[in-house]
């Protein structure tokens, strides 16, 4: 924390043996992690301590032991100064239905200390950047979930913070809305220059969005590394084929054909739709051609061939640190299938 003049080099968030204990629960257990600028994913199952960590980092809840700094400011003593430069998007619904997005965001800008004129200008800019146009003058009660999430994001960005905490921003969104929100989160850093700490219980959705992923479980740090480290392993393809008269079990036939061609195949028995899905390790572009040719030679119909998104999950599955991480990976497996449809 020595030098704040070069923001790029500075650690945005640093915790040191941070613990939070409630009478019956330990929410955080000696968590030490350094987070730099960029988009950082904070991943963990529900109850892993993500929200607790955000509360402590906002200076709203004192840590039981250990210390933490945000933007070089100690959370225990400089809470108000931190909150001036940080934005927060809560997980739950927090919008009054009877005011418009503009009214709410202007008010929240003033609550961050912006003078009235600046509050109005920043509100117009921010709502446009998150993709709210004419509807911003209508009461929020009539908005879709996706629009509400954008209003929540806008109020977190309106005072041009240096860092935003986004708590489960994709919750309740359909796959398209989720992809849009993830793209928007990416732009918050690349276009707006605002560092992001985004939580999710889904490992897969963060790999494309985040530069860095921190995984917590049971209040302890499982792993903290950049997303390129996570996804360096080769891609996994999911393939599903139809049956034909000559090959009553098309999946098995393809499995054998691919084995013969030297492609590494696992059955997707651990996943829903087991028996119909083949998972194979894609060495490169040529694997796609191999699969296409194998399917064509057998005369089967190719139902789908897609990249699986659970590479990160598998990294953790290998480590098998706790039952919780395997559980998280299981959740992710379902998630990936959900996306396939």
């Amino acid at each position: 924390m020595a030098d704040l003049t070069t923001v790029e080099d500075v650690t945005v968030i640093a915790t040191e043996s941070l613990s939070k204990r409630y009478p019956r629960v330990t929410a955080l257990d000696r968590l030490s992690v350094d987070i730099g600028p960029g988009v950082t994913g904070l991943v963990g199952a529900n109850g892993a301590g993500k929200s607790t960590l955000i509360k402590i980092l906002l200076g709203l809840s004192p840590a039981t032991e250990g210390r933490a700094e945000v933007l070089g400011l100690d959370v225990a003593t400089r809470g108000a100064a931190i909150r001036e430069q940080v934005g927060y998007m809560p997980e739950h619904d927090c919008l009054p239905p009877d005011v418009s997005a503009t009214e709410l965001v202007v008010h929240m800008a003033r609550m961050s200390g912006l003078p009235p004129t600046a509050a109005r200008e920043r509100t117009a800019d921010t709502l446009r950047h998150v993709g709210l146009y004419e509807e911003r003058y209508r009461p929020i009660g009539g908005y879709s979930t996706g629009m509400k999430q954008r209003v929540k994001l806008a109020q977190a960005l309106v005072h041009d913070p240096k860092l935003v905490f986004l708590d489960e921003p994709t919750n309740g969104l359909d796959p398209v809305g989720r992809d849009e929100m993830l793209g928007l989160i990416r732009r918050v850093y690349t276009d707006f220059g605002i560092s992001v700490l985004v939580t999710s219980h889904l490992l897969g959705e963060l790999e494309r969005t985040c530069d860095h992923v921190v995984v917590v479980d049971g209040g302890t740090l499982l792993r903290s590394s950049s997303t390129t480290d996570f996804t360096r392993t080769t891609t996994t393809l999911a393939v599903e084929v139809t049956d034909s008269d000559t090959h009553p079990d098309g999946t098995r036939a393809l499995h054998e054909a691919l084995d013969a061609r030297g492609v590494q195949v696992h059955d997707g028995s651990a996943l829903p739709g087991a028996g119909r899905v083949l998972l194979l390790t894609a060495a490169g572009e040529e694997t796609y051609d191999l699969v296409r040719d194998a399917v064509a030679d057998l005369g089967l119909g190719l139902v789908r061939m897609e990249q699986r998104r659970h590479q990160i999950a598998e990294v953790f599955k290998d480590e098998e640190h706790t039952a919780g991480s395997a559980e998280a990976a299981g959740t992710q497996g379902k998630e990936a299938v959900g996306h396939g449809g």
Partner: protein, 301 residues
């Protein structure tokens, strides 16, 4: 990046998308500014300003209802050249207490329950302001709204009295005593109303609960006092007055602010007894503030 602005709807909107993100280098005003901004927004909100037309109807109507009797009294006093106003300054708010209770019942939930019910509170407390800033701004705004409601009719009476050329010194003293009385009343009513509203996030329940506390306690206390008075146990009856906001104010102003006794069938408090009334009133105001702080500490995130 294949699509530069994936969120942009097609069509005419697209032309403005090339304005890149602009940061904000302007001033970030501190907690005092934020408190003032929240205060003025809440005070305006109590009269429906900056809200929908529908929300203006009730507070404005109640404001008019508060002022009309004062205007009529003034008109009568001026026209008939009375020697004194038909009603004391300190008595006016007591006569109109039902209107004041209705105003608090309708506006206190509007001011605090919405933030709790829609869980907007975390949006405030993730910003620089502290719990005490929020509570102070909300409390001050509600008390100011009630003060406006109760002091403006007194001002009407005072201006009318001067127009009717009543004794200046006499009227000014009465007006000042009236203002002190309604200031105390505003703090007490706002505090009780906000506490009840803050623990009943459902708006309808909040309104009902506030009305119940003001009206039922007043009704019960007045009845008990009347019974005590008839049975010649004045001292017992007097202390019943501590259990309703209206009779508390009434006791304080009878003892200290030259108000005529408004208790039914019994004597008003002496100065010594009035100290108890005053202490209970101040205790309730401080207690309301403390309870609000506690309520929002819990709701902070």
């Amino acid at each position: 990046m294949a699509v530069e602005h994936p969120l942009a709807p097609p069509g005419e909107e697209s032309r403005i998308h090339n304005i890149g993100y602009r940061g904000y280098d302007g001033p970030r005003l501190g907690r005092a500014y934020i408190r003032r901004a929240l205060y003025s927004q809440s005070l305006r909100g109590a009269y429906g300003l900056g809200r929908s037309a529908k929300s203006k109807v009730l507070p404005m109507l109640l404001f008019v209802v508060m002022c009309v009797p004062a205007l009529i009294m003034v008109a009568v006093a001026v026209a008939t050249k009375m020697k004194d106003l038909p009603v004391d300054y300190t008595r006016y708010a007591l006569i109109m207490q039902a209107v004041i209770s209705l105003f608090v019942a309708a506006q206190a939930p509007q001011s605090v329950s919405r933030d709790l019910r829609f869980k907007t509170v975390p949006l405030y407390f993730s910003r620089p302001l502290e719990t005490s800033d929020y509570v102070r701004a909300k409390y001050a705004a509600m008390a100011s709204a009630v003060f406006l409601l109760t002091a403006v009719p007194l001002l009407v009476l005072y201006v009318g009295a001067l127009l009717a050329k009543l004794d200046f010194a006499d009227q000014t003293k009465g007006f000042a005593q009236g203002l002190v009385s309604v200031a105390l009343l505003s703090l007490l009513f706002a505090g009780i109303g906000l506490v009840i509203a803050a623990v009943t996030p459902r708006r309808g329940f909040g309104i009902a609960a506030v009305i119940a506390v003001f009206v039922i306690t007043y009704g019960a206390v007045s009845t008990l006092q009347a019974i005590a008075g008839v049975q010649d146990s004045d001292s017992v009856g007097l202390w019943f007055g501590l259990f309703s906001p209206v009779t508390l104010i009434s006791g304080v102003q009878t003892a200290f602010l030259g108000a005529s006794n408004s208790f039914p069938e019994i004597e008003g408090p002496t100065a010594a007894q009035g100290v108890v009334f005053l202490l209970v009133t101040l205790g309730l105001i401080a207690g309301s503030y403390g309870l609000l702080i506690r309520r929002y500490r819990k709701a902070a995130l």
